[in-house]
């Protein structure tokens, strides 16, 4: 005998109501991060020792802007999911857990907006 309603069985999303979304998003962003971080590493190494104008031009070139915006989006989403698991594993008091989860969302959102804004500003300036 199952206590699950027919509707919840059909939806198959479990008690957290989002099924395997958390797991799947972590994998999708993990795969995306590999090439994007490699591109970013290349950009950073290419910028070493160069004056500001040259670095700004490199960071603002269309292909770099596109890659960096994608990287920041994928990276911060991956960060939020990963830190959420750490918080849920170690912070057991309900109030502190919710506070940590909120801080996690705010921090990663701020990082995402700040990074994407900086890159877009460089892109539209050059």
């Amino acid at each position: 005998m199952s206590l699950r309603t027919p509707l919840s069985k059909v939806r198959g999303l479990g008690s957290a109501k989002d099924g395997t979304d958390h797991w799947w998003h972590q994998r999708v962003t993990a795969v995306a991060n590999i090439p994007l971080v490699l591109i970013f590493t290349y950009v950073v190494i290419s910028s070493i020792g160069k004056p500001h104008a040259e670095v700004a031009a490199l960071l603002g070139s269309p292909l770099v802007v596109i890659a960096l915006v994608l990287m920041i989006g994928s990276l911060t989403w991956h960060m939020r999911l990963g830190m959420q698991v750490i918080i849920e594993d170690y912070v057991h008091s309900e109030g502190r857990k919710i506070a940590c989860l909120l801080a996690n969302t705010f921090f990663t959102a701020a990082i995402a907006v700040a990074g994407i804004f900086a890159v877009l500003k460089l892109g539209f300036a050059s």
Partner: protein, 132 residues
């Protein structure tokens, strides 16, 4: 869902302290630690991008801090953490496909991840040094 109102006298399952350390276990722990370190380290990356977007004076300041010996040390650690986390993550993707669960493969992968992270970190920094 955990309920903090329930008294803490319930028996607990064995945790880390009862096991002798193994390489695979250490790699799993390090994967989480590098993940958390990378999480907070993004502040540096974003600061560098904002500095570049703000203009020459802010950019010079960021470069001066990041190329000081402590800045370089942090970046070196950050590079290693990123590569280690990436190699560990690729291993996880293979596990997700149901591959690489044989004991000797798991052990070999742990050694390769550790060695590979050190070798690739050195490689990236040698290339970076060659560029500068």
């Amino acid at each position: 869902m955990t309920n903090s109102d329930i008294p803490r006298e319930r028996p607990l399952s064995p945790h880390l302290q009862v096991y002798s350390p193994m390489l695979t276990m250490m790699m799993s722990i390090v994967h989480r630690i590098t993940g958390a370190a990378l999480y907070f380290g993004t502040v540096l990356i974003i600061w560098w991008l904002i500095a570049a977007a703000s203009g020459p004076s802010h950019f010079e300041l960021a470069n001066a801090v990041l190329s000081s010996w402590i800045g370089l040390l942090v970046l070196l650690g950050y590079t290693w953490a990123a590569i280690h986390h990436m190699l560990g993550g690729i291993k996880h993707l293979f596990w997700d496909m149901g591959r690489g669960f044989e004991l000797n493969t798991v052990e070999l992968n742990a050694r390769l991840t550790l060695a590979g992270s050190v070798v690739l970190t050195i490689l990236v920094w040698v290339i970076a040094y060659g560029v500068s």
